[in-house]
Amino acid sequence: MLPLNDTEPNRYSFFPIMTVLLIVVNTVMFGLEIFVVQGDGWDFFMKYALTPTLVLNVQGAGMLADVTSMFLHADPFHLFGNMLPLWVFGRRVEDACGPWRFLAFYFLAGTSANIFFTLVLSHSAIPGIGASGAIFGLMGAYLVLYPGGRIRTLVFLPFVPVWPRIRAIWIVLYFLGIQIVPAIRILSGKGEYTTNHWAHLGGFFTAVFILLFLRPEAYARYFSDTPV
């Protein structure tokens, strides 16, 4: 299942400038990362990714590593897998918040994701990278703001790709669902830790704060039985 686009138009702004800017910055950072990282990149990731043991021992770059880790990706598929949902779910969340508060929410979701996984996997010395924590925050926010929203989604039925408009709640539940079992397995030491499922869950819960970030018109609409 691959979400492709939210077909509903913007209501308050013409262009999602911050969403596009985040995609550009993430892509440029990935390009730089390819040139900078030598070998397995251990030193680089120790400095600029978020490692729970370093955070808890107040070592390394602290909040700077928290921010830079959100802009680092392991490979082009990781980058694409994060930037596509950033576009799909971020555009209308930015529309409802305005660009600067959207940026604040994006960082808050990413940081909450990092805090959450640091607390859960406190003994881990494996650095965490990627924008996915922040993007799960946006998915949660999208669900709060547009519960009836529909997303054009690419679904691979056996031999036949189809792209219906699926309710956002099913997509978000699907992506949440595929986090929970591996997250529990990692915690119990049975699963292989290659994806930061706990960060995804932590980012998703940041959605409870989205109402603070809304522009006044969107906030009034949220409580008025009308689409935000």
Partner: protein, 287 residues
């Protein structure tokens, strides 16, 4: 002499039938304190010119939109004005308009310099009185002569009618200001929490505790500069009435950004200094 004293003398003069003296004293009173509602109400009855009486009423309503008596009186004056314009146009042709220039120009000029013509409608909307705001905009649309002004007013009418049609719930602007004030401090707290190793009691630094109120104030300024709301800040800092001029908003917005960004910059500087002294641990065996 204070505005209150001038008001007292002016009302005494008016009661004694000394109309010109009363007018002079009350004009001085509103020049000292443009928020003197009672003085404006007295002036609305003492002016000779219809236009001046309308302006005095509008000023009184800008200060206190809930004054029903003044509003009713204003409606009567506006009707009178429209009737007289129509009559004069019929009788005297195009030159008639120039004959209704205000006699009491200082009041007129002061009013125009201090407030925008839409302030009453905007304040009614801020107070959630959409019907009354709509009526005020319609009244402005009937009176306006410039097509650009008419376009602006028309947009406001369409917008408010849209809100009424969709039954959008009224949220007081002050609620939005307070709600949005928490956004940047929340982000600052989360960053600071990571910076102190998730243990603020063991590892926090003094600048972080001092910075938090700064972010809070900055975020409040940013919210206030974005949302149209009457607030004591506009009077105390910018010596302005109403909900803040464009200039005041821009200045407050810039101040807000500075207040917010400086503590974040301090966090980044602290991170960079930690990074300089950071000894990279050896790669674990499992890798």
């Amino acid at each position: 002499m204070t505005s209150t004293e001038l008001l007292r003398q002016g009302t005494e003069a008016a009661s004694a039938g000394r109309k010109a003296e009363a007018r002079e004293l009350l004009i001085q009173a509103v020049e000292i304190d443009s928020q003197n509602e009672i003085a404006w109400i007295w002036l609305s009855g003492l002016m000779d010119d219809l236009e001046d009486r309308i302006i005095a009423c509008e000023n009184a309503l800008t200060i206190n939109p809930a004054n029903v008596k003044v509003r009713t009186y204003l409606e009567g004056l506006l009707k009178e004005k429209n009737d007289s314009i129509a009559l004069e146009r019929q009788n005297a042709g195009p030159e008639a308009e120039s004959n209704i220039a205000p006699v009491l120009s200082p009041v007129h000029r002061k009013h125009e310099a201090r407030s925008n013509p839409y302030s009453l409608a905007q304040q009614l909307e801020q107070d959630g009185k959409l019907d009354e705001a709509l009526d005020e905009y319609k009244s402005l649309a009937a009176r306006t002569k410039k097509s650009a002004d008419f376009d602006f007013i028309y947009k406001q009418i369409v917008r408010i009618e849209g809100l009424q049609k969709e039954n959008i719930q009224y949220v007081p602007p002050s609620t939005s200001v307070w709600r949005m004030t928490f956004t940047w401090p929340l982000l600052y707290l989360s960053f600071a929490f990571v910076q102190v190793g998730l243990n603020p009691f063991l590892h926090s630094k003094i600048y972080m505790w001092l910075s938090f109120p700064w972010v809070l104030v900055g975020s409040f300024f940013l919210s206030l500069s974005e949302i149209r709301v009457r607030h004591v800040v506009w009077q105390k800092i910018f010596l302005e009435d109403g909900d803040g001029s464009t200039f005041a908003r821009v200045v407050l917005g810039i101040a807000g950004w500075l207040f917010v960004l400086i503590p974040f910059a301090l966090l980044i500087l602290d991170s960079l200094s930690r990074l300089q002294n950071f000894q990279i641990p050896p790669e674990p065996l499992f890798r």
